[in-house]
């Protein structure tokens, strides 16, 4: 009873603080500050029609590089931990329905993932979501097969090449225009075309390849560690 009353008092006090702090807040009727700058100059600065991508890859490209590093270290840690677990026996075999679906769907899913990656500067999407979609196709293939995936040098090299590409593209801007990850080392082109927006499509490709190969590696190690012991 006393705990209920104390809890109620705390909730009421916190709500009073929240209400008093937002009660005199009014939504600005027009964009201000950084947001205004991005919306007014974004297309001219980067050539990307999708302003979210312009911010993520061009204006804050260094942050995205950091995110890629975070994903890299996280997936490395997962794979490291999972390799400590002894490899299970054959995983539970898929039923024929799952195996059949895993045979027909992955092609379409990979195609869709590539579409998302390559249209990152034109429509919502880009390297991270597209790479995850491609990786989900790999997961489906794995679920539909009866074998344990082996060690893949291919995945690791794709991952390394993609990460290296991101970094080198950044240094290219540093050497020619004096800014790390400057977007306009390649011409901005005409906004709205698929080959436009400087190096944004190339960076999307690099991020997509990296995310796809990393997540596929994580799925593969889960598959190896799972199954009946």
């Amino acid at each position: 009873m006393i705990r209920t009353i104390i809890g109620l008092v705390i909730v009421l006090a916190l709500s009073a603080i929240v209400v008093s702090s937002v009660s005199d807040y009014s939504m600005p009727s027009e964009l201000i500050g950084v947001g205004r700058g991005y919306t007014e100059q974004g297309v001219n600065d980067t050539g990307s029609v999708n302003l979210v991508t312009a911010v993520v890859v061009a204006y804050r490209g260094l942050d995205t590089l950091g995110e890629v590093v975070v994903l890299f270290s996280a997936s490395t840690a997962v794979v490291l931990i999972l390799t400590l677990i002894p490899i299970g026996a054959n995983p539970t075999p898929p039923s024929s329905i799952v195996a059949f679906t895993a045979g027909i769907l992955p092609g379409a899913i990979v195609l869709f993932g590539i579409y998302i990656i390559t249209h990152g500067h034109l429509s919502p999407g880009g390297g991270f979501p597209g790479g995850a979609v491609v990786a989900s196709a790999f997961l489906l293939v794995m679920l539909g097969s009866n074998t344990i995936p082996g060690k893949s040098k291919f995945l690791t090299s794709i991952e390394s090449i993609a990460g290296l590409t991101f970094g080198l593209l950044g240094f290219w801007g540093m050497l020619t225009l004096g800014q790390f990850l400057n977007n306009l080392v390649l011409p901005a082109g005409s906004p709205g075309r698929i080959i436009s927006a400087g190096i944004i499509p190339l960076i999307s490709l690099a991020i997509g390849a990296k995310v796809a190969s990393e997540l596929s590696g994580v799925f593969a190690s889960y598959r190896k560690a799972g199954g009946e012991k």
């Binding site: 039923s95 799952v98 679906t101 679920l143």
Partner: protein, 111 residues
């Protein structure tokens, strides 16, 4: 309001109704297989009806929406099938009133 609009309202309304019934079923049904029945079969029909209704509102979206419908029709039953098999492998999820169990018999009754 044109005939197409009325038809679109009917389809989206039906879809919303089926999706609501599905949610209610997940909430009310007693065990895992019954819940799964409500949560997967009905969502397939509900989403298909709803997306088709949306396509009637905006005919230019129809091809993309039909692709999404095709994808849902291909994936939703398969994933529920895989989930149901996984649940069947878990003895603690077995409901008390499960009397006819063809999957168990086809596996040779090993548990």
């Amino acid at each position: 309001m044109s005939f197409m609009d009325i038809l679109a309202h009917v389809f989206t309304g039906l879809g919303a109704l089926v999706l609501f019934a599905s949610g209610l079923g997940v909430f009310r049904m007693p065990d895992v297989f019954n819940k799964m029945h409500a949560g997967t079969k009905a969502t397939t029909l509900g989403s298909v009806l709803f997306l088709f209704g949306l396509g009637l509102f905006e005919p230019s979206w129809m091809p993309k929406l039909l692709l999404i419908v095709l994808f849902i029709v291909l994936t939703n039953p398969v994933s529920s099938h895989a989930l149901a098999r996984a649940a069947h492998n878990e003895p603690s999820e077995k409901p008390d009133n499960l009397i006819i169990d063809d999957l168990e018999e086809s596996k040779g009754g090993d548990q």
